[in-house]
């Protein structure tokens, strides 16, 4: 046992202390830090200033008064403030309760608004019979940055009054200079739209304020009602199980890959025979698997703590039950040993990394499969499809983690059943791969294919 642990320890340190691994641990931390520090700096950058004129052709003359009112500098500022308020509200809705303090939300909304261009626009009122074609000419010289006429709006003669009630109302056309900030054209479009609406309502003899109040209905968020209580459904609930699965998947991949690399190194550098003179192939394989399991658990602990930290900021840590955290480790071990034993067999069978590719493909596919099935499983975590996959090794551990953390966890009995099924299949897989490992380690030469591997299993 002592020797197995020595092999495990070497395996662990030789992987964890490589630059690549340290980078994999440190890089997300650095990125997160950079986001926290750099984002506000980037956001407070001065917004561009847009100045110039916007020309209007209003044949009816009924729209212009509202436009004139809406295009004063004060009105433009007021609109920006209102948008800030909307954004603030939208942010508050998007983020789950307790995501951030009100101050943070205000700052986020403000900084987003600060990004929008400062508008310094003048109005050009063109005669009602002006030719659209000739008025377009000034738009053709230079770009929006050069100033001058930035846009031309031609309001349809039937925009306010139509010929008969059967016909639709006319609209308006918007022509802009090249490279005009789309936020400017959006703003102008909104202004004209509102002005036309106002004019129509007035023309119909109604009060615009009343009509607007009458036509406004806010869109509600869905609230999930269950025995445990009521909860607003948010995008996070579908992302959380995915996060868990990604965690287990990344850890399995990294440590499995590590096992493959070190096994190939030991074989191709011809260390393996010296090792085999000190311990049996089974002891070697066990030690290696334990060592790389440590690598996977380290990775999971670091990324898990990182994810937990993020959840704690959003006050969502309570959404993770301790049982699920424990089961995450259990399912990781099961998924890992399954993949690792295959990786060890492949590593022992081939002569170099290149040869490993063809044998690795099915293993990779197996690990990636739950990733591709994420959406159908999380949409219906207790459907027949998800239940069967949850009990079907080798993808069972991944699927179970996904289901456990979804909004509708599977029935409790499925947990022990899936664990037993996995333990049995891991045991069978270990028996098979150990044979390949033993025979493969001392075989050099022609790269093996699956037929050869099966032959080795029979031989050993």
């Amino acid at each position: 046992m002592n020797k197995v642990l020595r092999v495990a320890w070497r395996e662990f340190t030789s992987t964890v202390l490589t630059k690549g691994f340290i980078l994999a641990i440190v890089l997300p931390l650095i990125l997160l830090g950079m986001m926290i520090v750099l984002m506000p700096l980037l956001l407070t950058e001065k917004a561009p200033k847009v100045s110039g004129s916007v020309a209007f052709i209003d044949p009816s003359g009924e729209v212009m008064p509202a436009i004139r009112e809406a295009m004063t500098p004060e009105a433009i500022l007021k609109r920006q403030d209102r948008r800030e308020g909307d954004l603030r509200e939208a942010l508050g809705r998007a983020a789950p309760k307790g995501l951030a303090t009100d101050g943070q939300l205000d700052a986020a909304a403000k900084s987003a608004i600060a990004q929008s261009p400062k508008l310094d626009l003048t109005i050009e009122e063109l005669p009602a019979d002006a030719s659209i074609e000739s008025e377009k000419e000034p738009l053709k010289t230079g770009t929006a940055q050069d100033g001058g006429r930035l846009a031309l709006i031609a309001i349809s003669p039937t925009a306010i009054t139509r010929q008969s009630t059967d016909e639709p109302f006319g609209s308006f056309e918007l022509y802009t200079k090249p490279k005009l900030d789309d936020r400017v054209s959006d703003d102008v479009r909104d202004v004209v739209r509102d002005a036309i609406l106002n004019a129509r309502i007035l023309a119909a003899g109604q009060d615009p304020a009343i009509i607007r109040a009458l036509t406004r209905v806010d869109r509600p968020d869905a609230v999930t009602v269950s025995k445990e209580g009521e909860q607003k459904t948010s995008k996070w609930e579908i992302l959380l199980p995915f996060g868990f699965m990604a965690l287990i998947m990344i850890s399995v991949m990294v440590s499995g890959q590590g096992l493959l690399t070190t096994t190939i190194e030991e074989k191709s550098n011809r260390i393996v025979e010296v090792l085999l003179s000190a311990l049996s192939p089974m002891e070697l394989m066990t030690g290696k698997i334990i060592g790389q399991m440590g690598v996977g658990l380290t990775l999971m602990a670091v990324y898990g703590a990182l994810g937990g930290g993020v959840l704690a900021i959003f006050a969502m840590l309570s959404q993770i039950s301790p049982l699920n955290a424990v089961l995450l480790v259990v399912y990781f071990v099961l998924a890992y040993v399954m993949v690792a034993s295959m990786m060890a067999a492949v590593g022992a069978a081939v002569n170099d990394v290149r040869e490993a590719q063809s044998l690795m493909t099915p293993i990779m596919l197996m690990v990636m499969l739950p990733y591709m099935l994420w959406l159908p499983i999380s949409r219906d975590p207790n459907g027949a499809f998800a239940t069967v996959l949850g009990l079907l090794p080798p993808i069972s551990p991944f699927v179970m983690v996904l289901r456990l953390n979804s909004t509708e966890p599977p029935p409790m009995w499925q947990i022990p059943v899936s664990i037993v099924i996995n333990v049995v299949s891991v045991y069978i897989m270990l028996r098979l791969t150990a044979k390949i490992f033993r025979v493969g380690l001392l075989m050099y030469g022609k790269p093996p294919n699956f037929a050869t591997l099966i032959k080795w299993v029979r031989m050993a």
């Binding site: 020797k3 020595r6 550098n269 260390i271 025979e273 010296v274 003179s277 000190a278 001392l442 050099y444």
Partner: protein, 324 residues
């Protein structure tokens, strides 16, 4: 003293190929035994079976009194033919790791490793990465990894291949020191002269079979010299006169020399006297057979031509030099 290793009727096949065919062998404790034979003769397979890395299809193996090497792994030091180091690991850490895998106690292991590195002039390499070492340095490190845990039995597969003369001498001294400490040593080589220099006992393997197993003195006595080397004084003699003598088996010109094979029934000293009477010679000597000669003779007895056997031996030695 008992036997360190006993093999009886050991046979190993790889698919249709028979690698080892019924080898019986017993190696007494404290002896220094050379396994010789050309490449592909079955030396490495035999050694791997002794080490329980491979398992025989038939026959029994006992190592250090146990039914297999697995039970006495920690008492064996092994330097395989295919050997390597962890390239990214530091030399000191590597040796400590290997020694402890072989059951050496962790206390004081660093000092011990350092002491040994000093002895092979690698003291400054303790903290270097293995990949920074030259081939010869790596080989010394590998040798150390086989003896650090003070094994009772040392099995070394081609220990001297690819070494320069200085390091070869250094390792040979360490090797003989281990022998003097009473350790049983088996080493394989296809460089016959190495075996001749070092071993007190020779086991010759050819085509998976043991063809010779004896002490060096005994082998020499058995294969007593029946060849006389003559350097004729005028250098032009073709030896025709000698060929007609009834006691001469054959005459082979070898450069300046004539190699004269003697028939049974004549004492070599009588032959030397007769040759000297027949022609003026600047040099005449009794040719002691080398292990290579003996090997060739044995292989010839199995129906191979002397040329093919010598060629295969030399090809093996050459590929060894190029390959390592």
């Amino acid at each position: 003293m008992g036997d360190a290793i006993v093999l009886s009727g050991v046979r190993k096949t790889f698919g249709p190929k028979v690698a080892v065919e019924g080898i019986d062998l017993s190696i007494p404790e404290g002896s220094l035994v050379g396994f010789i034979g050309p490449n592909g003769a079955g030396k490495t397979t035999t050694i791997r079976m002794i080490m329980s890395i491979l398992f025989p299809d038939a026959g029994q193996i006992s190592v250090l009194g146990k039914a297999s090497a697995i039970e006495s792994k920690d008492r064996i030091g092994y330097l395989p033919e295919e050997r390597g180091l962890y390239r990214k690991m530091r030399v000191g850490a590597f040796l400590c790791h290997m020694a402890q895998l072989k059951g050496a106690p962790p206390e004081g292991i660093k000092q011990k490793v350092y002491g040994w590195l000093e002895r092979v002039n690698l003291a400054d390499c303790f903290k270097k990465k293995c990949e920074e070492l030259s081939k010869g340095m790596q080989q010394k490190v590998q040798f150390l990894s086989a003896i650090l845990h003070e094994p009772d039995l040392l099995i070394l597969d081609e220990p001297f291949s690819g070494l320069d003369p200085v390091n070869m001498r250094l390792l040979k001294d360490l090797f003989l020191e281990q022998h003097q400490m009473g350790r049983t040593i088996i080493f394989s080589t296809h460089q016959m002269h190495q075996a001749e220099q070092l071993c007190d006992r020779i086991v010759m393997i050819n085509k998976g079979q043991k063809v010779l197993d004896s002490t060096l003195g005994h082998i020499r006595a058995q294969h007593d010299p029946r060849t006389v080397l003559v350097e004729p004084m005028d250098g032009l003699r073709d030896g025709t006169a000698l060929r007609n003598e009834p006691w001469v088996r054959d005459v082979t010109p070898r450069g300046e020399l004539l190699e004269i094979g003697l028939r049974d029934g004549i004492e070599p000293r009588d032959a030397i006297r007769k040759i000297a009477e027949m022609m003026p010679v600047s040099r005449i000597e009794l040719h002691r057979p080398t292990l290579e000669d003996i090997f060739v003779e044995i292989a010839q007895g199995e129906g191979e031509s002397a040329e093919t056997v010598r060629e295969s031996l030399h090809a093996a030695a050459k590929s060894e030099e190029v390959g390592t």
